[in-house]
Assembly symmetry: C2
Homo-oligomer: 191 residues x 2
C-alpha cells in the first residue's frame, strides 16, 4: 500500500536491533484515515476467505484489526495480555516471546468469544518473527476455530516470520514488506 | 444512544461491586459497527469544540477514540500503561488508581505527540469514578494542551466521576448513562 510505505519512509525511524519506530501513526499516535484505508485494503485482499471473526492481540493490533473487521462486517476479538476481572476463570491462554518487550507475554482469550466453527482472520500491526501471530494461531486452534488468513500492516521479511507461518496453508498478506533497514535506508520488497 | 443502551440491556452483565461486563461488544470482543456509530455520535456532539487531537488510555479506550477521531479527521493518541522501547526517555507520566484493576496504573504519553497548542478531546469507554480521565486531563495540562471536551460510551453516574470533572468547565458527554444497577436491573438516566 503506497500511502503506508510513504509514511514509513517519511516518519519511520530505525532504532537498530530490528526495531522500527512507527508510533507517530500506528503504535501510540494513530492516523485514523490511514488505518481505515489499510483496513479497507486488508478486507479487499481477504474478501474471499469467508472470515466470521477477526482476531488480534492488544495493544497495537487493535486499530488495524478494528478497521479491517468494520469493512468485513464481522466482530473483532483482541487477546488480552493480562486477565481482566470480567473474564471467566477458564480461558484460552498461550505464551509468546515478545522481541520488542524482551520477555514472554501471555495471550488470553475468553472461550465466550472464540468458539468452534468460527473462521478466524488474524490481523496485527507487525509480522516480524511471527511469535505473536503463532500465539494467536494456537489460541484459534485450541478453540476449535478454523484459521483462514493472516494479515499485517508491516512485515519485516528479514525476521523470518512468514516462513514459520507458511506451513499453515493460509493466505498471508502484508501492506508494506521491508526487506532491509540499514540506518535511515528502508527498502521495501517489490509487490 | 439507543442502540448502545439496548446492547447493554441485552448483553451487559452486572458482576457486582459496580463492575459492568460489556466484553462481548466493547472490551474484549468489539462490535465495529456499533463502535463506529458511537464514534459518529460523539463526533457530532463535539463538532463545535475544535478538537485537534483525541486522547485516550489503552486498552479499551482505543476503539471508541479511534472511531471518534476518524469522524473528526484528527489523530488519536493513546496513553500507554507501560513505556515501550520506542518511546523517548523523557515522557509525560501520571498515576491513576484503577477500580477494575484494583491498583494504581501509570499513564504515559510521549511529548512527541502531545504538545502545547493542541485542543484535546478525551474519549474513553467508561466514565465511572473519573480517575483515568482525570489522569488524562493532567497529561494534557502538563503538555500545555487545552482540554476541550470529555466523552465516554458508558457513564456510571453512581460513581460520581462527572462531579469531579465538572470543575474543568468543558462539555462532558456519555452515550449511555447508568444511574443504578441492581442485579440484572440496569436503569439509564432519561436523556
Amino acid at each position: 500500500m503506497e500511502r503506508l510505505k510513504a509514511r514509513i519512509l517519511s516518519e519511520g525511524q530505525n532504532l537498530g536491533d530490528g526495531i522500527l519506530k512507527v508510533d507517530g501513526f500506528i503504535n501510540h499516535q494513530v492516523d485514523p484515515e490511514l488505518m481505515f484505508e489499510a483496513g479497507k485494503e486488508l478486507a479487499r485482499r481477504f474478501a474471499g476467505v469467508g472470515a466470521t471473526k477477526v482476531l488480534t492481540a492488544e495493544i497495537s493490533g487493535i486499530a488495524p484489526a478494528l478497521a479491517t473487521a468494520l469493512q468485513l462486517g464481522v466482530p473483532v476479538v483482541y487477546a488480552r495480555k493480562t486477565k481482566p476481572i470480567t473474564m471467566p476463570d477458564q480461558v484460552f491462554l498461550t505464551l509468546a516471546p515478545s522481541h520488542t518487550k524482551g520477555r514472554t507475554v501471555e495471550l488470553i482469550v475468553s472461550p465466550e468469544f472464540l468458539a468452534g466453527g468460527e473462521r478466524v482472520l488474524i490481523i496485527d500491526d507487525f509480522l516480524a518473527s511471527g511469535s505473536t501471530i503463532l500465539g494467536l494461531v494456537r489460541l484459534a486452534q485450541t478453540a476449535g476455530s478454523k484459521l483462514v488468513g493472516i494479515g499485517a500492516l508491516i512485515e519485516k521479511t528479514f525476521e523470518g516470520g512468514r516462513a514459520k507461518l507458511e506451513g499453515l496453508g493460509v493466505q498471508i498478506e502484508s501492506l508494506a514488506a521491508i526487506v532491509s533497514m540499514e540506518g535511515d535506508h528502508i527498502v521495501f520488497s517489490d509487490d
